[in-house]
Amino acid sequence: MVHDTQDTVLEVVNLKKYFQFGRRAVLKAVDDVTFSVRKGEVFGLVGESGCGKTTVGRTIVGLYSPTGGKVLYKGEDTSRLKGAEVKKFKRRVQMIFQDPYASLDPRMTVGDIIGEALDIHRLARGKERLARIHELLNIVGLSAEHASRFPHEFSGGQRQRIGIARALAVDPEFIVADEPISALDVSIQAQVVNLLSRLREERGLTYIFIAHDLAMVKHLSDNVGVMYLGRLVELAPSAELYKNPLHPYTQGLLSAIPIPDPRVERERKRIVLEGEVPSPVNPPKGCKFQTRCRHAKPVCREEDPKLKPVAPGHFAACHLY
């Protein structure tokens, strides 16, 4: 297993999430994914569109119920929580959404968007509620006067800050950030990423950071999981993964990212991934990556490799190892 230490807060065990399409087609968005997250760490989840990374995040916070497997938060199975326990769990685990334009109700003031969480969990009322909203706005770098405004009056970066303030309102321990910066301009991305780092230090937060921008994931994360077609194909400490990628998919993915430095870019050896990701409704037999893999052997077409330890703390799901 991936974890052993006492300070594990989240365990995702053999998680499956299938979506039914029509009568016969089943989309296996997440298929048997296992990993764990320690307290205070940033766990990065990367992969291309359709790999299931967002579905993992949504299933963890309870927006989807798992088809199979379980999510354990501090040892408790989150799908078995009832009534008040659910509410308590949702106070501890919050989500920041990808699209800062679609995830804020345009008819609510910013103050009410942030205050709604306080109301639901009965955390503050009246003057105290207002003071708390102002405090939250300050924490994310906005000002108190913004509370009476509406989302459309803000830029993308500011909206993402509002989304972060809303997540922080219930004083969570754990945040699932689903592509929190991909809709933002680069100079603004740095603002939001630095804010997330600062909040982690100040409040001891734990993050799952879901993104397709591998450079940003490397920058922010302690451990990184790489997903492909619903599977976790590699899992390693961030520096190790980038220095020594083991899975052919990870190697191709890293090699595909252009580096903003022409001299380095010119001298880089490239591993080109041919073709495209197959349809998740009808994935290939055996290893899901075999159709694009340079090293595919007969066994890869038959048997789906399991995630196994290859080096200390470094796991890969590949028949090469």
Partner: protein, 348 residues
């Protein structure tokens, strides 16, 4: 041939007249593209990079848009003085365009084949049969498997990456001298992006086309560009060769932009430099330098007077008052600070 310049844009001014008032989107922009080279125009959303380039061939909606000044010389012809009819023989024939969104820029009701042959029949006056042969040739040139079958299919039968290949085939079908690629890989996954960029690079050498690459992604720029124009708030902040911009950036905005992105090959973690604040509202263009309110080196002159273009050796130009000889002492004082600017950062 008069010089190396294929496209020469001077003092372009473009505004949009909206209900909320006039937006001065492009405020005196000059740039040029040499034959056979790739010019990248870089900047964040709303900086005017797309409008500047699309205005040169009048692709912006008019109204509300209006080209209010400037000249555009393409291959010796003044495009601004051309009638719409004459311009039509340039667009698509001599200048090809790839748009950002391959999902919406192809016509869903027409087969891919017809969309490629359309230009060939109109501009090159090929017969339907010749056009078809050429279109299939183009499809295999952009490395689409089974081009003969693909010719008869509709855009929805193609993936995002394949659609972008079709767009490239359409844009290049008439052998244009200039290809405008507006965020050609935004929205594509990185492994597909790498394929498309490789394809563009190899086609450029094969067909000897000049490229204007509009993008916000500095990684993509470093891979393709020979020269770079950095835009901010409707103006050119800095221009130069790829080496000038990546290794000797002199404008504080360019410097900050380069420090705000993490780099995959770096081993150490440094804090990203966040540029505080947001770009100005071009409904009310700033009196002085547009970057001054966000600039950590801003001087009093920056707030009241717009800087001109200062030459910085070769084709390198910088629109910043720090380049003025009278600001030499400020520049020196900041030289040390710029080094550790990467360590500062922090949210605004």
């Amino acid at each position: 041939m008069a010089g190396e310049r294929l496209l020469d844009v001077k003092n372009l001014e473009v505004s949009f007249y909206t209900y909320a008032g006039k937006v001065h989107a492009v405020r005196g922009v000059s740039f040029h593209v040499n034959r056979g080279e790739t010019l990248a125009i870089v900047g964040e959303s709303g900086c005017g990079k797309t409008v500047s380039v699309q205005s040169t061939i009048k692709l912006i909606p008019m109204p509300p848009g209006k080209i209010e000044g400037g000249t555009v010389l393409f291959d010796g012809k003044d495009l601004t003085a051309m009638s719409d009819r004459d311009l039509q023989s340039v667009r698509g024939a001599e200048i090809g365009v790839i748009f950002q969104d391959p999902m919406t820029s192809l016509n869903p009701t027409m087969t891919v084949g017809r969309q490629i042959t359309e230009g060939l029949i109109k501009h090159q006056r090929l017969s339907a049969q010749e056009a078809k042969r050429r279109a299939i040739e183009m499809l295999s040139l952009v490395e689409i498997p089974n081009p003969k079958e693909r010719f008869r299919q509709y855009p929805h039968q193609f993936s995002g990456g394949m659609r972008q290949r079709v767009m490239i085939a359409i844009a290049l079908s008439c052998n244009p001298k200039l290809l405008i690629a507006d965020e050609p890989t935004t929205g594509l996954d990185v492994t597909i992006q790498a394929q498309i960029l490789d394809l563009m690079k190899s086609l450029q050498t094969k067909l000897d086309t000049s490229i204007i690459l509009i993008t916000h992604d500095l990684g993509v720029v470093s891979k393709l560009a020979d020269r770079i124009v950095v835009m901010y708030a409707g103006k050119v902040a800095e221009a130069g060769t790829s080496e000038d911009i990546f290794y000797n950036a002199l404008h504080p905005y360019t410097q900050a932009l380069l420090k705000s992105v993490p780099r995959l090959h770096e081993e150490t973690k440094r804090e990203l430099l966040a540029i505080p604040g947001t770009p100005p509202d071009l409904f009310v263009p700033p009196k002085g330098c547009a970057f001054a309110p966000r600039c950590s080196y801003a001087m009093r002159v920056c707030l009241d007077h717009q800087p001109g273009d200062f030459a910085a050796g070769g084709s390198h130009t910088v629109a910043c008052w720090l380049m003025d000889p009278r600001a030499a002492h400020v520049r020196e004082r900041h030289a040390g600070r710029a080094e550790d600017a990467g360590a500062r950062g922090g949210a605004s």
